[in-house]
Symmetry: C2
Subunit: 674 residues, 2 copies
């Protein structure tokens, strides 16, 4: 093990040391920078007993794309980097402030009050304060008492309340109590029947109503910690590690990752989680790196539940915009969350008071050796010559896990030497369940229980997951077009003079405006390609990247239903928009209690021109989830994703000349005896 | 390395030795058995100069399902096994004979002449003989001479000719010449313009026509052997092996594989390739194995090309039925085709003369450690308690690679401890190309070139791949039903008294007859589940397995076009039929020159009852392939598949009690110095 750990150590230290060496325009704000931002703002808005000022979002104020590109393309980055700025969303006396701080001049560049709909992300501290408040709230304690529950076993969690046509949208949240009492699997024992609203600005209970006393699922069967489970155990699996005798194949310099033919910047944001930037691939024929992805990240997750009743109707989460997919990212466990050959990165973000906090191991990066074949061929037609040429596949994965309460979302960005970028979302964790009076389907009286009985007195409620990615593709440059290459059936022309009656061919349409590029997948056979119309291969094919979608799901809610209006960005599986610095969050900059007036769908209705423009692709990975008993008490991962694959981007197979793995270098391994 | 090789050695030897110990009803015919079959038949049909008798197919005559099941369910299999029989398809004087030989009584049980449409599979020897014939054929040599080609560099390959309405369908094949001359990548240098038919029974040239002299692509750029490629090389990847300190977790006893909670039989057939039988999973709560898959295998591959011209219109292959997906399976390379921890199996099949021949390493079996997460949860709501529980995922993969001429098909059967069975098909190898006069799109005069210019004077022709699997599911027993669980949008009832306007719920329909179970995927949101209506979970849910489809593709040919009539089994993505011993091959028992009168589509038209019956699922993995330059000269693997996932089959998460991997057991590894 020694040598192995040693390898890991080297890498992480490379990372840590050089991360402090120079600052890349896309680097997340460093600890000193976060302190600076706090100091600058604190001068103008000194916090005091009379003056509440909270930091709801602190992140990098994205530098102008043109500046980043010219800096990035300059030799050794020897020109002046773009100005380094922080973007802060704060709450001050019930108002939302947007503040931009310049880190060089240490000055506030802009400071305005936001007057539109919707509220900033909920911070962890605010949620904790709110739930603590409820736990101390006398009427709530009385309700628990009336239910004969032991307060010390009650856990209160926070939930956004959505928007359902209300004129005023103060910064309120709903809180939901759960009863542990013998369980640690909080979410499987909800205490229903109460409406408890907390005002986050005033930090006061805004409404409390005990509507009814519902049933409560049992604690037994909810345990998932191996240490507390009883035999029989199993299935039992053998231990294994991926061993790389020459060490990992990637280098991390600050936040820039270099591996095989790939180079990209990896960053972290409290709302998006991982951000991949300036991903480019080295073309051995051209002997240079070529741009592919300027910026790619999770933009929003829409998770509506399908029970319209009072306890459930509002559960229509916009996880990233309301809870922060980065804020909810968890510390990853070596060997289990990520394989033995993984390297980890920490995150440094600002707390509610603006001061930096660190979370360790929120990202892991590893080379994936799944036993796949990159390409192969066996040739047996050539007389006296049996040829078998094979290249095993390897890829590089950057992983985060975002746990928004009950659900754990595994988000993988995978890079392949063949040029493909695969993005996959895995769902695991714990179901959201509804307590019921019965344990068997035969006892069901209602005509619709909105889910499946997954355990005694427990219904796993039907729901969707729509995971929307923003992909600012720059295929070999910023001027790109979106091609819809439809496959159409043709009758064989008489001239062919063959008995074959039909065949298919491609009918190419370039999307002129946004309307042409709204795609519901699976409705007709077509290839979707982002091309650079100014670049052609030596054979005249347009240089491009193709979207290979995975299984898709579309929204089933009424288009006029409030949650769907707010999540109208899921109305299509694929959208293309012209690059616009302000269009980053598909649900709008202010998603909590939003009214759907700042969504991808709204932007797209402007129907802007997208031909030969700097365009952005939006792709939604969708799941309809009808729970089953296997999902209880924890859910085996269900993963889906999509692939961006080079299509006439290279002149030939880009991994043709990848050298095969040298068998002689296989290591000598002996089990450790302790 | 020592210890590691040692581990491999043990396993393979276990396999080899015990494979000879006892014979499982599903074991492929052994070498002695094949000899026996040959002797028995040879007695009746002595081969002589006047009497041509060839073995076109020799395989296990599938024993009655009822007998297999009662044998399999008997304790220690201590009852009489089903009779062991061979099924032989032979050609004798231009007639097809079907012969069943009983291996115990050493007698011919039945022997009849087949009179229907279509011909048996082409054997490798027949194809070699036919192409050798052409190479010696004077008019052909003259044509080559006229083209100024060097005969010693000409390679001839065989192609089936399909069926296009001809009344008579003698056993003819078309042959296609290629010109190596500096290349070993045969398929990239076709010599077009000739029609050359060979009669396989008479082994004579049936037709020769030199229609025109076409262009010929260059040899340079077609090389793919690393030994012959020139710098620059790359991208360069680091070596890695999966090391299992306790050795592999699976045991192979004869052809029975046991791993984690899985047990299944693995066999090999010249037409189907790998056959998975009697797959069952151990349920720790019930403390017993439970049936899932009685038999699963590749049934057919339909690969139509989309150029209707004289040189191409007939290229509409039924790869398994015409060329044998098992016959075309290649010997797998350790470390590259399969990871370092793989174990290999050989195949023993009958040659054209009925005598056994062995091919080594046609199957590999390995544990896949891709760095995935089986399930996880981080709980942070419980005060003073931060819980993170994670199980890394491991699966067992059985792999074959079938190389039908230019294309290499990677077929993986993957078993997961969570109960999922994943089947994936990877496409790699070499494109089929058409020589053209031009090198650049600007030179194209035709309105349709039927593909993409992938290299100088070379068009990669558009085509499809439809890979159809036969899955005889027995979910917890043979009586199963097929459920279509549609997701339908509902308006919120007034009674709910909430502002939520809509939600979705499930509308369950049980397929009564075959017509109800023909599914074109992607047309509506629905879950497809095979259930055992006689078994319910303790909560009353029907025990079942769900089909999770991957990306799908449907046929685009005219329904009345000859190739589509023969491949009508691709008209739907999913079919359900009642179990019928004779319905195994979706394209019919005799696929070569078939007329579509014995396809899955024809069987299904009988519209038999399938509710509470022993049913078989048919699933087609589809690809529309518009070639791109990256596919030249070899193609990076493009993989697709589907998953069969337990859905209320278990009472709870079946891997909840899987013990986490013990970090302390990680090995000490040092690079080998030689």
């Amino acid at each position: 093990m020694a040598l192995f750990h040693f390898t890991i150590f080297i890498i992480s230290s490379i990372f840590v040391t050089s991360s402090s060496s120079f600052i890349h325009p896309f680097d997340p704000l460093t600890e000193p920078e976060l302190r600076l931002v706090h100091n600058v703002i604190n001068k103008r808005y000194p916090v005091g007993p009379k003056h509440r000022f909270t930091y709801e979002y602190v992140g990098l104020n994205e530098p102008d794309k043109s500046l980043v590109l010219s800096w990035h393309s300059s030799r050794h980055h020897n020109i002046k980097p773009p100005p380094r700025q922080a973007f802060v969303i704060a709450r001050e006396n019930g108002k939302t402030r947007e503040i931009v701080v310049d880190l060089f001049s240490r000055a506030i560049l802009s400071d305005k009050i936001y007057v539109g709909n919707g509220n900033p992300m909920l911070t962890t501290e605010e949620q904790q304060a709110a739930t603590a408040l409820v736990l101390k709230f006398k009427p709530f304690r009385d309700s628990m008492m009336r239910r004969g529950l032991n307060m010390s076993e009650v856990v209160v969690t926070s939930s956004t309340m959505g928007w359902f046509g209300e004129a005023k949208t103060e910064r309120l949240i709903k809180t939901i109590p759960f009863y542990l009492n013998g369980s640690v699997n909080t979410y499987l024992r909800p205490i229903e029947g109460m409406t408890i609203l907390v005002d986050l600005d005033k930090m006061k209970i805004a409404k409390f109503k005990d509507r009814y006393k519902g049933p409560l699922p049992k604690a037994n069967g909810t345990e998932y910690r191996i240490s507390n489970l009883k035999p029989p155990f199993g299935p039992s699996l053998r231990d294994a590690i991926v061993f790389q005798p020459d060490g990992p194949g990637f280098k991390i310099d600050g936040h820039v990752v270099r591996w095989a033919n790939w180079e990209f910047h990896i960053s972290f944001d409290v709302r998006a989680g991982v951000i991949i930037s300036l991903a480019s691939i080295f073309d051995i024929d051209m002997n240079k790196y070529r741009q592919i992805l300027y910026k790619g990240h999770l933009s929003e997750m829409f998770v509506p539940y399908m029970d319209p009743s009072d306890d459930w109707y509002f559960i229509t989460y916009l996880d990233c915009g309301e809870f922060g997919c980065g804020q909810a990212a968890v510390s990853l466990e070596p060997y289990t969350d990520c394989p033995a050959n993984a390297v980890f990165m920490d995150s440094i973000t600002a707390g509610l008071d603006g001061t930096p906090t660190k979370k360790s191991n929120v990202i892991c990066i590893f080379e994936k050796y799944a036993g796949d074949i990159m390409w192969r061929h066996t040739e047996s037609e050539v007389p006296g010559l049996e040829i078998t040429e094979v290249r095993p596949d390897v890829s590089l994965v950057a992983r985060t896990v975002t746990t928004v309460g009950n659900y754990d979302y595994i988000v993988d960005y995978e890079f392949k030497p063949s040029g493909s970028i695969k993005i996959e979302v895995g769902l695991t964790g714990v179901l959201e369940v509804k307590p019921v009076e019965y344990v068997h389907t035969s006892e069901i009286k209602e005509d619709d229980i909105h889910g499946t009985i997954v355990a005694d007195y427990t219904v796993g409620v039907n729901h969707d997951h729509f995971v929307t990615f923003r992909l600012d593709l720059d295929i070999d440059g910023t001027d790109n077009s979106f091609i819809r290459n439809e496959l159409v059936t043709k009758k064989t022309p008489k001239s062919a003079n063959t008995p074959r009656k039909s065949y298919w061919t491609t009918s190419k349409k370039t999307a002129r405006t946004e309307a042409d590029a709204r795609v519901k997948l699976g409705q007709r056979p077509e290839e979707l390609v982002v091309v650079n119309p100014n670049r052609k291969t030596k054979h005249g094919n347009e240089i491009g990247y193709r979207l290979l979608s995975g299984p898709v799901a579309g929204p089933l809610l009424d288009q006029n239903d409030y949650p769907q209006i707010r999540a109208a960005f899921t109305n299509y599986n694929v959208w293309i928009t012209p690059y616009n610095k302000s269009e980053v969050w598909a649900s709008g900059l202010y998603a909590d209690r939003s009214q759907g007036d700042d969504t991808l769908n709204v932007w797209s209705q402007r129907n802007r021109e997208i031909e030969k423009k700097d365009i952005v692709m939006w792709y939604t990975v969708g799941f309809h989830h009808v729970p089953c008993q296997e999902d209880f008490p924890t859910m085996p991962t269900l993963a889906r994703g999509f692939e961006l694959r080079p299509t006439n981007f290279f002149e030939q197979n880009p991994v043709l000349k990848t050298k095969p793995i040298k068998l002689a270098k296989s290591p000598k391994c002996t089990p450790k005896n302790d």
